[in-house]
């Protein structure tokens, strides 16, 4: 499995798409860092971090992670390398899992980068002292958000593999983005899977029933996984 995951990551070498997606996810914290010194209002850690985190985990994140998953899976179709992939002495399930693990590694990397940039840049431009409690609360929120993001991945892969088309993936991401916004506005976010990664961030500023969120996350993960297994078993001819 290590060699398969290594190969999946190796395939991303020189990939502009991946660099673009990673840069897009850290664009906003960099942007806030650059404009904060020119802001006349007093900047606090709460305002500074929430500016970046809200945009990332409710809006930008879902687009980035759908496109990322899409790229990992669909490039085998666009590069026409699927037959080569299935000529290896490994099971289809192992190939699938290696791709999912690669997505998880990249998601973890993006979360880590985002966290470092938000707090690293905050130390440069926010003059308020950073408390340990605030720092750990956010770290925990990032970890929870990342786990919820992981739980969402199988469902995203299932949707991506239905259409096997990058344009369709882009449309799914736009749909997820607007539906997140809508569900948030009407207060029904507890029932909407695409917004899951944002709930721990939301929980930093308001009390949210995290148990029902966890149940939703587990349900989404199990459903997504079962759908992927169903989809995988149906692939007979490459």
């Amino acid at each position: 499995m290590f060699d398969l995951v290594y190969s999946e990551i190796f395939k991303l070498k020189k990939s502009k798409t991946i660099i673009f997606l990673i840069l897009s996810s850290i664009l906003f914290p960099i942007f806030w860092c650059l404009i904060t010194p020119f802001n006349t209002q007093k900047q606090t850690w709460v305002i500074y971090t929430s500016n970046s985190e809200d945009i990332m985990f409710m809006l930008v994140g879902i687009i980035v992670f759908i496109l990322l998953s899409s790229y990992i899976f669909l490039r085998e179709y666009s590069d026409n390398t699927l037959k080569v992939l299935y000529s290896y002495p490994v099971s289809k399930t192992s190939i699938f899992i290696s791709k999912v693990l690669t997505i998880y590694i990249l998601i973890a990397l993006i979360y880590l980068l985002h966290f470092i940039i938000v707090f690293g840049s905050g130390l440069l431009v926010i003059h308020e002292s950073l408390t340990k409690v605030f720092f750990y609360k956010h770290m925990l929120a990032y970890i929870s958000s990342m786990i919820f993001q992981f739980s969402l991945v199988p469902l995203l892969i299932f949707l991506i593999n239905i259409f096997k088309n990058t344009t369709a993936s882009a449309m799914i991401s736009v749909f997820a983005l607007f539906s997140n916004f809508y569900m948030y506005e009407i207060g029904r976010y507890n029932y909407w899977p695409f917004i899951l990664p944002y709930i721990p961030i939301m929980n930093l500023s308001r009390a949210i029933d995290i148990i029902s969120t966890m149940n939703l996350s587990i349900g989404v993960f199990i459903t997504g996984t079962l759908l992927c297994i169903f989809q995988l078993t149906r692939v007979k001819d490459v």
Partner: protein, 308 residues
């Protein structure tokens, strides 16, 4: 001595949308064979290969590979196979070496030096660090051969291996295949729609047409069957046969009805045969050089024309 069987298909059948594309194919490939799998485009060759590699499901029939019956979820046997697809595909932004490195890891090959070895074998050592997107079709084909050889396969499957290669490249690939077969006893299955591409290599030939394996025979048998001969029509068949043996020293001939004799030996001595017959009082009513090439035979079987 028992012959080790590498591949045996029994009644192998595949349908796509109720159309039969592979129809009850029974083919046998033994260890050390160079099996030329011939057929026109769309005959069903690639579908058979896909079924061997578990990339297409089997509707009916079975495949035995390396002595084991192939099941739906089998995959470990693939580590013993090297495969070149009709148009080899690669990750275009990566270099040739990077592509082989991915293949090495996924095939579970421990020896990193194999990459340089196979690149040298196909004359791509100096191009290994170039991005594959900058490769010509011929270079991609050679890289595809290198990839197929990376795991030192026991069974090499090559689908149209000389696509896009120049005559020198074709000859080079042929040399590599023959060398592997001779030195390592590698079994080879070569698919092609061009007979000349495989006729100097193949030890066994299978001809597929419209999904049906219409002929499977040893190359020698086919060659024998299709070799050139002199056909004479004489007035005294018995006497002519004696003259052939005693005066011309020819033993390889066959006697047919209507005073016809077919001579398979000393084909460049037609003039002498004619002379000896005349001297010994046998009248030759008709003399002609007959025969069909394997290519003629292939086109006759598949109902095509030579320039297809």
């Amino acid at each position: 001595m028992t012959v080790e069987m590498i591949l045996k298909t029994s009644g192998l059948t595949k349908k796509y949308n109720n159309k039969i594309v592979v129809n009850k194919i029974n083919m046998t490939i033994n260890k050390g064979d160079i099996y030329g799998f011939l057929g026109r485009n769309g005959a069903g060759k690639t579908t058979v290969l896909k079924m061997i590699m578990s990339q297409a499901s089997i509707d009916s029939g079975s495949i035995d590979i390396f002595g084991q019956n192939l099941k739906d979820n089998d995959y470990k046997y693939k580590s013993r196979i090297g495969m070149l697809l009709e148009t080899p595909t690669f990750y275009p932004k990566l270099t040739g070496k990077d592509n082989l490195e991915i293949h090495r890891r996924c095939m579970g090959i421990q020896d990193k030096k194999r990459i340089d070895d196979v690149l040298a074998l196909v004359d791509l050592s100096t191009e290994g660090n170039k991005s594959v997107s900058k490769y010509s079709l011929g270079m991609k084909q050679r890289l595809g051969v290198a990839r197929a050889l990376l795991n030192s396969p026991e069974f090499l499957i090559l689908d149209e291996p000389t696509n896009g290669l120049d005559p020198v490249g074709i000859s080079h690939i042929r040399e590599i295949i023959l060398k592997l077969n001779k030195e390592r006893n590698t079994t080879v299955l070569i698919c092609s729609h061009i007979l000349s591409e495989i006729e100097h290599m193949a030890t066994k030939i299978g001809i597929i047409h419209n999904g049906i394996l219409i002929k499977e025979a040893l190359y020698k048998e086919l060659e024998e069957k299709n070799k050139t001969y002199i056909q004479i029509k004489v007035n005294n068949q018995k006497k002519a046969a004696t003259i052939l043996e005693q005066k011309c020293g020819i033993n390889q001939y066959k006697v047919y009805e209507d005073d016809i004799i077919c001579i398979f030996d000393k084909l460049d001595e037609a003039e002498n045969i004619n002379k000896q017959m005349l001297i010994n009082g046998v009248l030759i009513k008709e003399l002609r050089v007959n025969g069909q090439t394997l290519e003629d035979y292939f086109f006759r079987l598949t109902g095509g024309e030579k320039n297809v």
